[in-house]
């Protein structure tokens, strides 16, 4: 049996696919690009900024900074939200980050499910920085995330770990705790 023939057929099929795909891509580009899930999560993340006592800044109108690792859809949604809004008079900025990028200036860091493998390291890097870590994976609360999204009964809910707030020297508002699906005892 000719392996070469198969190989050539494979390469040819590949080229054909890329062509077909680029044509098909035009047709599908108009279709919805980001699941409703991130639209809701982005709205939540923006609301969360309202329910945390941020440490006073030198300038009262210094922007609140959000960082997003993974999930471009999330960053896009947030960028749209913060464009026209402020939080207690402070503007909000959104940045996409890669794992390992500096997080020192961030007030809130969202780590997408796709990056949950690196969560332990990412959380370790935010230690003592006053950064609120928001996540969306089941193992995240045990790794030190402060707010973790869960989807339950087709609704986006979140769990809060007050312990993680304490560790970040942040104060969580009672209202956030009442809306939370669960208030977690938190681990070390």
């Amino acid at each position: 049996m000719s392996a070469l023939r198969v190989w050539r057929a494979g390469v040819f099929a590949f080229a054909l696919c890329m062509l077909a795909a680029s044509l098909a891509g035009r047709a599908f580009a108009q279709s919805e690009a980001n699941p409703a899930e991130y639209q809701i999560k982005a709205a939540y993340v923006f609301k969360f900024l309202n329910y945390v006592d941020w440490p006073p800044q030198s300038a009262a109108d210094a922007p609140l900074q959000i960082g997003v690792i993974g999930a471009r859809a999330m960053a896009d949604e947030l960028t749209g939200i913060v464009a026209k809004r402020t939080v207690n008079g402070r503007p909000v900025t959104v940045r996409r980050l890669r794992p390992g990028d500096a997080t020192a200036e961030l007030n809130l860091l969202f780590v997408a499910r796709s990056e949950s493998a690196r969560l332990a390291d990412i959380v370790a890097a935010t230690k003592d920085q006053g950064t609120l870590v928001v996540t969306e994976s089941a193992e995240a609360p045990a790794l030190g995330s402060a707010i973790n999204f869960v989807v339950e009964d087709d609704k986006v809910r979140f769990d809060v770990a007050p312990r993680a707030f304490e560790k970040a020297n942040l104060k969580v508002s009672a209202r956030l705790l009442t809306v939370a699906r669960k208030v977690l005892p938190g681990s070390s």
Partner: protein
């Protein structure tokens, strides 16, 4: 705290949010009305997204284990079967350098035929024997998003052959694999190099291309004689995605080839290697029809060939088309769909086996419907049935009923009754040993489907955020299992019946933020016998060789940031016939994240013994030796 629409009634504002969501399917991102809803209103908006399936699986009324990408990385696995060892509900036995016997709930066999295996929706079992050539199935493990392992029948949704389980390998969307990645592994037993590059595709999509090269050293048998099972393989492939998970288009394909060393037997035509090659191309289109319904259409072609001068030389072409429509209607979540599959094969004889006729076209058509009914807020009943038509036995029906009772938010008790069928494969009907008369063994023209009636009950809980547990008890009642006769002219028949039962359980404990412990076990008992009137000289032992129990323990520790220390211990009880002694395997891994994008790790496998057999008859079976491996993983 400001709400710009504070004057509007809550219900109206929620409705605005919902309408906006409903219309969002055709709209680009960056509308932002949701940000003006309150926290409570956000918590009450329902979403419909296929991407939630992984989360849903944790609540599914079935014995499901999900192998995560992180677990694969930290196992140091360099092949798909090695990664499958992470699933506590699978039995994985290595046969030689690259071949494996893998099953769930018993009947393990080099030609095991009761497990359905899919890679990104493409069925990879070989239709002429309903089993998987594991040496022909490779993926770039770094791009695997997760592997779902369902033990027990999945026949209603997945179809015939999903009798004892389903393995679903899911790779990341191309949007999640931007940039370059290089993985290299080299050590005492193998060398592997993989590379991937991902970027933007025209029309706001993403693509990736990858290549793999694998070299596995040969093993030796129990007398220390080298076997010629060393393996060289290459694979290339691509995946491109447009749109998101609920509406989008995916195109992917792979091409591979591989061969063993030259095997020498005192027969004409030798020395010769086993050579395998193949290619496939798949397109999948998913569309959200409205807020409540999604449509999925998928089609693929798959060509594979294998040249084994000793056994047989199959060449198979498969065309597969399926569609699935998911919708919701008051308390019902309905999924229905259908599919058509056609396999054209040409199985030329080897030294031992031939197929008569050598060429055959077979087709399968199916239609299924499943309804998940919310009986009460915490009680879901799932009823489903699949009708599958095959050329040998006509239409088979595969019904199932599942009940899920949510005791609390984090606790689920479930039970299920299912009927699963393994339809005849070419091997059952058309095989001949030797290829020309007089035959010692011949396929049975009257061979019909093997049938399992299965009862399962399970409990799953997350009693604390750092602890998750699952346990399942199963009982399979078997009719018409494959049996033989006394040679010569022994025909394949359906004269074995009986039952199998056992337990499957696992737990994960995140002891601290840097230390995760997991454990799993299975027990298995078989009461199978030859029916009255059968002259089968071998009996049920020809169907599989299974341990009474196995258990695994894993520890994943980050002793300090950037450093990883992993320990895995696995104990497998003795196999009865042929006898394979019990063994305990210890694997260790130390990983160091030198920079955020560069990881070096050292892996040691089978450290406790100099080598052990996992399957087959002494003394000719492979001894799986101790090995050491250096891994490099670099994301650019």
């Amino acid at each position: 705290m400001r709400d710009s629409k504070a004057g509007l009634p809550v219900a109206l504002r929620a409705a605005i949010g919902l309408c906006w969501l409903a219309s969002s399917a055709g709209v680009s991102a960056a509308d932002d009305a949701l940000a003006d809803l309150s926290l409570e209103e956000l918590a009450n908006i329902e979403i419909t997204s296929v991407s939630r399936r992984a989360e849903r699986l944790s609540q599914a009324p079935a014995s499901v284990y999900v192998i995560t990408a992180e677990a694969i990385r930290r196992s140091g696995a360099t092949s798909l079967p090695q990664a499958l060892r992470l699933a506590p509900n699978l039995q994985v036995a290595q046969l030689d350098a690259s071949q494996y016997a893998i099953t769930a709930r018993g009947f393990n066999n080099a030609i095991g035929n009761k497990l359905l295996v899919l890679i990104d929706g493409r069925t990879v079992y070989t239709p002429f024997f309903s089993g998987v050539f594991w040496d022909q199935q490779d993926v770039l493990l770094a791009d695997v998003q997760r592997i779902e392992v369902i033990s027990g029948p999945g026949a209603t949704l997945w179809g015939a052959n999903a009798v004892n389980g389903v393995i679903n390998v899911i790779t990341r969307s191309a949007a999640e694999t931007e940039g370059a990645l290089v993985v290299g592994a080299g050590g005492s037993r193998e060398a592997r190099l993989g590379a991937r590059y991902g970027g933007a595709a025209p029309g706001d999509g993403h693509f990736r291309v990858y290549g793999l090269h694998t070299r596995r050293e040969n093993t030796s048998d129990e007398n220390g004689t080298s076997l010629s099972d060393g393996w060289d393989g290459q694979q290339i492939g691509f995946r491109a995605d447009w749109g998101g998970t609920t509406s989008g288009f995916t195109l992917q394909g792979d091409a591979y080839r591989g061969k063993t060393e030259l095997r020498n037997f005192p027969f004409p035509g030798f020395p010769a290697a086993i050579e395998a090659s193949g290619h496939n191309l798949l397109a999948r289109w998913t569309r959200r029809l409205d807020d409540e319904a999604t449509l999925r259409v998928q089609a693929y072609i798959d060509h594979s060939e294998r040249d084994d001068a000793l056994l047989y030389k199959p060449e198979v072409d498969i065309v597969d088309i399926e569609f699935q429509h998911a919708l919701r209607w008051s308390a019902h979540k309905v999924v229905w769909g259908g599919g058509y599959r056609r396999a054209s094969d040409d199985v030329q004889p080897g030294l031992f086996f031939g197929f008569r006729p050598p060429q055959r076209n077979l087709s399968w058509t199916n239609l299924f419907v499943q309804d998940e009914i919310a009986l009460q807020r915490n009680l879901d009943l799932t009823l489903g049935v699949k009708f599958e038509h095959n050329d040998y036995t006509g239409t088979e029906s595969l019904p199932s009923a599942r009940l899920a009772w949510k005791l609390a938010a984090d606790q689920l008790v479930w039970g299920a009754l299912s009927r699963a069928v393994r339809a005849p494969a070419r091997l059952d009907r058309d095989i001949r040993l030797p290829p020309n008369p007089p035959f010692i063994i011949a396929g049975g023209p009257d061979f019909v489907s093997e049938v399992a009636n299965v009862a399962e009950i399970g409990w799953r809980a997350i009693p604390r955020p750092d602890l998750s547990l699952s346990i399942t008890a199963f009982h399979h009642d078997w009719e018409r299992l494959r049996s033989g006769q006394l040679p010569p002219d022994a025909m394949v028949q359906n004269m074995i019946s009986g039952s199998t039962y056992g337990l499957e359980g696992w737990g994960v404990w995140q002891a601290t933020s840097a230390w995760r412990l997991s454990a799993g076990f299975t027990t298995f008992r078989a009461h199978l016998g030859v029916n009255a009137g059968s002259a089968d000289p071998v009996g049920p032992s020809a169907l599989g060789n299974d341990p009474d129990f196995q258990w695994t323990l894993r520890s994943s520790l980050n002793p300090w940031p950037g450093h990883e220390f992993d320990v895995a211990v696995r104990r497998v009880a003795a196999l009865p016939d042929p006898v394979v002694p019990a063994y305990t395997a210890l694997d260790l891994r130390y990983g160091w994240r030198v920079t955020p994008d560069f990881i070096v790790s050292v892996v040691g496998r089978n450290l406790l013994d100099g080598g052990h057999a996992e399957f087959g008859a002494a003394p000719g079976r492979s001894v799986i030796p101790r090995s050491v491996l250096l891994h490099l993983r670099w994301e650019l």
